[in-house]
Amino acid sequence: MQVNFKLNGTPVVVDVEPRMHLADCLRDELRQTGTHLGCEHGACGACTVIVDGAAVRACLMLAVQVEGSSIVTVEGLSTEEALTPLQTAFRKHHALQCGFCTPGMLTTAHALLTDEPDADGDRIRAVLSGNLCRCTGYIPIVDAVLDARAAYRKSDKR
């Protein structure tokens, strides 16, 4: 089936089997491999992408369901030149080791801080509890997200 949607601002058309989930579509059909698959049953959060402004698990959505949607992946958060404030905070706090869960952490935190730039530590931990990390013990990730809030507040007050 043919599906049309926007990926990181660019319109794309793909032809997929109905059974293909969104993460496979992004990774295999569109070669955007920043979105990772850690479980394929909605338990680890590594495949989190932002669909129409909301963070969702790309393994729990069929590609054919995103017709007409606008999708942001980890690749869409980055710029060629510099790391974003969120990415910079992750690096500063050593909030990643193997880097496998990192794209899902970034997309989830980005969606959260875009909506709730004042989220406190408890809220951040609650939201990130849907993303598994086996390396860091999470504490530096939470610290990084707390640290990045200021940048989202600023952009909110435009």
């Binding site: 109905p18 059974r19 989930h21 963070a55 729990l60 369901q65 989830t108």
Partner: protein
Amino acid sequence: MKPAPFEYQAPATLREAVDLLASDPEAMVIAGGQSLMPLLALRLATPSLLIDLRRVPGLDAIAIDDSGIRLGARVRWRDIEDDRRLETAHPLLRETIAQVAHYQIRNRGTVGGSLAHADPAAELPGIAVTCDAELTLVGVAGTRMVRAGDFFTGPLTTVRQHDEIITELHLPFWPSGRRWAFREFAQRRGDFSLAGIALFYGEDQEGRVANAHVGVIGACDRPQRLMEVEALLNGRFIDEGLIREAAETSARTVDPPEDLHVPAAYRRALVATLIERGLRSAAQHRSA
């Protein structure tokens, strides 16, 4: 873990969706997919056709009036969380739904999907049963209403006929001044709970309990009300003695499944703990 092959349709009307469903005994309905997708990935569900409700109009509204609250089948957990009207219109619903699963799941998971999936530990079925809600189902033969207490028949089983689609959940009007609580326990935040309870009651002029509703999830094969506990509470003043009595009654009357690492005795005790804590907190807080 790729799903087995299936056909996919996203009909534009409810009628079309029902007809498609009726035409294929192996067809299934998908909305948010947050319960169905893992089953597809594990090939525990192998439908021949998936009927996506995403284009069907009229299923995504939260309507509030004197008769209560109508939740469209495609209302997401996030919609309930974001609807400030529910702070007074149904605080129990709002508080409970805030505890469903994780952030990403709440952005996709729907009212209709949760009811149809009928996990014994799911929060919304628990609220529906506790509040005496009614489901609207539409099938080829027409529309029917089913009381939540009659809808769930066991783990992942309901009275829904194959050709029926859940379109709405109606929660009866929530009067102001009710006392209420929701408590659930899982070892990790966001997991299906080992047990959970929802309760509310009004009070008569003197402050005695009236119209107590007490529901339990996770510790039985389907969400259910604990009628004995309700009867015990009605007409009495809440005090520590009654709370303990209610907790012990709940532990005695609930019928948890035995499983290898969560013994039934533990779930019973957990229900008692949650009832005790729920009643204690309800006695201290009253909804506006």
